[in-house]
Structure formats: C-alpha cells, structure tokens
Assembly symmetry: none
DNA sequence: AATGAATGAGACTTCATTCAT
DNA sequence: AATGAATGAAGTCTCATTCAT
C-alpha cells in the first residue's frame, strides 16, 4: 500500500505540483480513503520527504559505483555519470522534477538532510573533475566548482525537455553531451 | 500602486512560492487592503502572468539587440548572450525563478503565450548556433537543438546557485562559461 | 458580529465544552459562514482567550472598586466581594465555568497571562484577609493563604450548582456564606 | 492489562483531558495496540465511566465507614470526612479532577448513575450537618443544604491547588479547614 | 488475547474572490 | 481609488471504531 501511495503521488506531484495535489486525489486514485493515507504517513510532507530521499540516495549510490571503479579513467567516469543521469530520465524523471521543484515544501530538518545529500553528489562530481585535472585528463585553468555547476546544469535541465521516447536516444544524447563537455563547440582549424 | 504590487509579489513569490503567498500577505506588505488588489488585477493568476510576460519579453528584447548587431560575429554574440543572462541574475533572479517554477499556475491561454515566447528565445539562440556552424565558427557535427538546450541549461541552472555578490563576479562567470562552451574541458596535448 | 460570535460561543462552550463545540456550530447558530468567523478571529483558541480575559478582567475591576473604597471596613469588603461573586453568577456563570474548565486549551502564552490575573485576584483577596487580621477584625491564628483558598472555594463552587432563579436569592446566599465564613457552624453555648 | 489501561488513562486524562487524549496515545504508552484496548473496553466512554465510578464509589465507601461509626460525634465525623477528602488528594487527585471535569463526556445513562452517587455523597454529608444541628453540636440558623455546598466547595477546590508534598501537610490542612468551618474567621472579643 | 490495516466522519483553517459602499 | 465584511469551497489532519486474522 505504501508503495502504491508513493507511486501514485509521484505521478500526481509531477503533473500538478505538490501543493496542487490533494490527499483526496491521491487516495481516490488508489481507491482507498484518507484514513489509509494517514495510517502510513503522518503528513503530506513526510511523503514528499520519502520521495526526495529515495531519489537522491539512489543517485548517490549509482554515482558511488561509477566513481569507485578502479578500472576506469576520469573521462570514462564522466561519461558514465552523464549517461547514468540521462538514462535515469526514463524511470526517474518525475522524481527528479519533484526533487528540484518541490523540495522547498520540506520542513527545515528534512530540507537540511536533503540538501546535504545533494551537495554530496555535487562535491563527488567536482572531485572527479579535480582528479582529472591533476592527471592531465582535464584542463586546469577553469575553476572546478563552476565547471561542475555548468556540467550539472546541462544534464539537470534535460529533465525538463528530453523525451527518451523521441528521435534521439539516451545513448546518443549522452554521447553528444560528453563530446560537448570535453571539446566544446568552437571550430578548430587544423 | 501596480508597480508596488508587482515588486512586492515578485519578492514573496520567489521566497515562498506562488501558491504559498496569499493576496492578504501581498497587500499587508504594501499596506493596503484586498480591494485595492482587485482594483488593479482581476485575479492572482493575472498578476503572475504580468510577471512572467515582463521577464521573458525583456529577455527577448535584449537578445534581439545582441543578435541584430551587424558588427559582431557569432562567437561574440554567444558571449554577449551568456553575459546578458548572467548579469540579469542580479536584477532578475527572482523573476526568472518565478518564471520557471510557477509558470504552470497560469491558465492555458497565458501558458501558451508564455511558452511561445520562451521557445522563440530558444529558437533564436539555436539559429545563432546554426549560423555559426555555417560560417565555420562552430563545429557542425553535433545537433544544434541539443547543443542549445545544453548551453541554456548551463546559464539557467546558475539562477539557482550563483550569487553575484560572492567571490566570482558576473564577468568572470560569463568568461568561464564561454570558455567552457567553446573549448570544453578535455586536456589537449599540443 | 464579533459580539454575536462571543455571545453564541459562550453559550455553546458552556453547554457542550470548548472542544466539543465546532466552529460550524457557532456560525450556523448565528447564521453566517465559517469564513466570517475567521475574519474576526484567527483561531478558535483566540476566541476562548477573549472570553477568559474578559471574564477575569471584569472580576478584577469589580474587586478593585470594592477594595479601594475608603469608607468600608474589612468585614464589609468581604461581604461585598462574596456578594459580587454570587450576583455575577446570573450574568457570568457561563463565562466563569468556561474560564475554570476550558482555560487549559489556551496556548502557553495566553495561559500565563490568564493565570497571572487569576492569581492577582486571589492575592488581592488574601491581602484583605491579612489586613483584617492586623486590624483585629479577623482572627489571626490560621494561615491567610489557606483561608483565602477556602473562601474562594465556597463561592467558586457555587457556580456549578447555584441557580439564582431558585428559592434562595443571591442576597440570601451571600448573607448565608458571609455568616458561615465569619462565624462557622459550631454551636456555642453562651 | 485492564489495570494498566486504567492507570495510564487516568494520568493522561488528567494531564491532557479526555477528549485530548487519543486511544492511540494510551496504548502507545502501555506498549500495546488499539485492538488490545477494544478487547477490554467497548469504547473510550466506557473507560471514563469506569474511572468515574471507581472514584465516587470509593468515596462513598469511606464516607459510610465514617458516618456509621457509633463511637464518634458529629464534629469528629465532620473532621474525619474533611481529613479523608484531603488525604485522598495524594492518591486520587487525578481521578477526582477527571471526575469533575470530564463527567460530561459520559452518555446519559452513565451520567445519571454517576450523578446519583455524587448526590448521595452530598446528601449523606448534609444529613450529618442536620443531625449535628439537632444535637446542638452545630448552629441551626443556616440552611443545611447551602452549608453542605459551602463545605464541599472548600475541600473540592483544594484538588486544584493543594500539593501534599508542599510545606503544609494534609493533617495540617484538614485541621485548618475544620477550625475554619467550625469557628469562622471573625475575631471575637471575649 | 492481540494485531494491523482500513474506515469515514468531522475537525480546524486558508484563501481567492465578490460586492456594497 | 479603495475599503471591509462576508463567502464557500477546498485543504490537511485526527481519531474512535471495526474487523479479519
């Protein structure tokens, strides 16, 4: 039942927004009553927290697997993270959008917890860039923190417009982005 | 008075969200009563529309000036747009965030109008990339639409974390981003 | 309207209890809607506070008038306070009962304020007893604070059973009580 | 288990009120689940009835013992009842307060039953006063019913403020009250 | 003897909006 | 140009109670 509630809420929160989705709507969609909801959750906010936590923790887990692989270099790892984020769109687009857009409805404590994890993800990313710079896989004349924000912006933004069912596949988009991130767009006369 | 309402609403909508800000709060902040609000606006939604329209039209106007300048090449134009978007953060961060986050509260008609202008901005951007490709200022092996989304993602995302009052100035950030967009991050042994 | 709300609420709170009376019932009795209630009060608790404050402040005011009269001695003053409390039953019985029974539903701050005033009333009463002891109008071998509680108990309790419309009039009851307080019930052989 | 439920409920009902205490809270405090509660009680009201009945019946029992003692006179009996009520505060304060304050949540039938016993207690008290009057232990110029209410008010009220652990002991308070009841407070020049 | 899932009625409260003045 | 009173629909949440196991 808890699973059902989460699944339904994710759809509704993404489509209509957290505030705009009433508990009534959630339980009606499932076919139970409001009491049932409050048997599983103490508040609407707690449900949102669950959704947000699940999302970011899954992301951290996948990032960890990629970063701790001893057999890949920095460029490969960068590619894998970009690819991971793009492929996640298919299954996690809703959660991701809820994460970014509705996070502010969490209470102070939960918000702090969530933001810590989000920052952790970014810091890990940045660390990869820094290591790549040390190993001379990446250029080192630009500040790694700003670069990290930029690279994150590219993939995060794609959650708002990219449709994995469309003409461009996930693999293709990931490749395009990695190429862009590595080489930029300027024409170089050789 | 209308100016006061807009100014106050922008602050409140950004800080608390559209739904979370009541008309009561807006008019209390100004020091008038609800009747006054409804003298100037027919609904809360209309006020949001005003804010969103102003934001995107101003952006289009500035973009137009840059693009129509006959004396600059594509790379310069790209730099100018990036710089324009980053400098706008100082004065328009609130409006921009409201634009992205609260747009969905608009009614169908207004939403259509807004999205048309937003797409216009993106299409103009994309056109610049395409022209640059034709003129061999930009490489042409990557799809210009995906590149445009990527470039947009970089600057749009900065509205959520960049603080113009911080250590890195707007000029610096714009330079970093343009460098990144043009050349990428991969180390090139020459 | 505010007056109507207070009047109706006092009746309902007394008859059914604070928790047991819904806003719905209050406004239905008056013939308005819930919105109207919340136009005048921010919460149900605030209304209760108003009722409690009004009650205790009126009591303090009347007590003050009696105590500050320079032309009456302690015994007269005692009589006047007892009489005042008994006569108040007719008009204030409901408020008094709400005061005693529902006070605990007030929030911490309001409760503190109310209790301060209630203690003030008791302290003033006790002061009268102490002055009477000094002036040898009252015996001084019993602790004045305990006596004050006892005397208060007598009249306060009457709010729960005394009906001014019954056989015994207010004047009579006050006289009986003062006689009892002054002389006790033990038969004295003279 | 039933004992545990009663004990816990008395504490919670006294501290928070009957309506304000949920069955959930009661069973959580004990460490069982709601089903357990409903195995022992058919409703929350039934539990309240149990508490109230136990309290008043115990009181009647103790009163009976005192009144039926053939070896004590009326003044001694009065003293013993006052003392009994005061000593009860230590063990029964919570029950007593629930009795007075929450009684109204009982259903009609239970309320009738309870009130009958409460009146019985008062009537017995009044009878003692009347007998004392006949035997010329008590003055007979004041109506015994009003006097009974007054005497009851004194002790009942003490349930709301007297702390047996404080400076004044139960014996002392009983003595003070009996002295007051018998002799009053007026200074008598002899 | 006890559990856990589910119910459903009803509570307080919020708020955009209307309208006579 | 602005006010203040009033509306009413909708929202979140509570909780005593039921029932199959």
């Amino acid at each position: 039942m808890k699973e059902k509630i989460i699944k339904t809420s994710i759809e509704l929160f993404d489509e209509k927004g957290f505030k705009e989705t009433s508990i009534q709507e959630i339980v009606e969609t499932i076919g139970v009553t409001k009491g049932t909801f409050y048997y599983y959750y103490n508040s609407k906010e707690e449900l949102l927290k669950d959704i947000c936590i699940s999302y970011i923790e899954e992301l951290l887990k996948q990032q960890k697997q990629i970063l701790e692989n001893p057999n890949t270099d920095c460029i490969t790892k960068l590619h894998e993270i970009v690819y991971m984020l793009i492929t996640n769109i298919k299954s996690q687009r809703r959660s991701a959008r809820i994460f970014f857009r509705e996070m502010r409805h969490l209470n102070d404590q939960h918000l702090k917890e969530i933001k810590a994890k989000r920052n952790q993800f970014r810091k890990n990313y940045q660390k990869l860039i820094e290591i790549g710079m040390e190993k001379q896989q990446f250029k080192n004349h630009l500040p790694p923190d700003m670069l990290t924000f930029a690279i994150l912006g590219i993939t995060n933004w794609s959650y708002y417009w990219f449709h994995p069912e469309g003409e461009v596949s996930e693999e293709q988009l990931a490749k395009i982005y990695v190429d862009f991130i590595l080489n930029g767009i300027q024409f170089v006369d050789q």
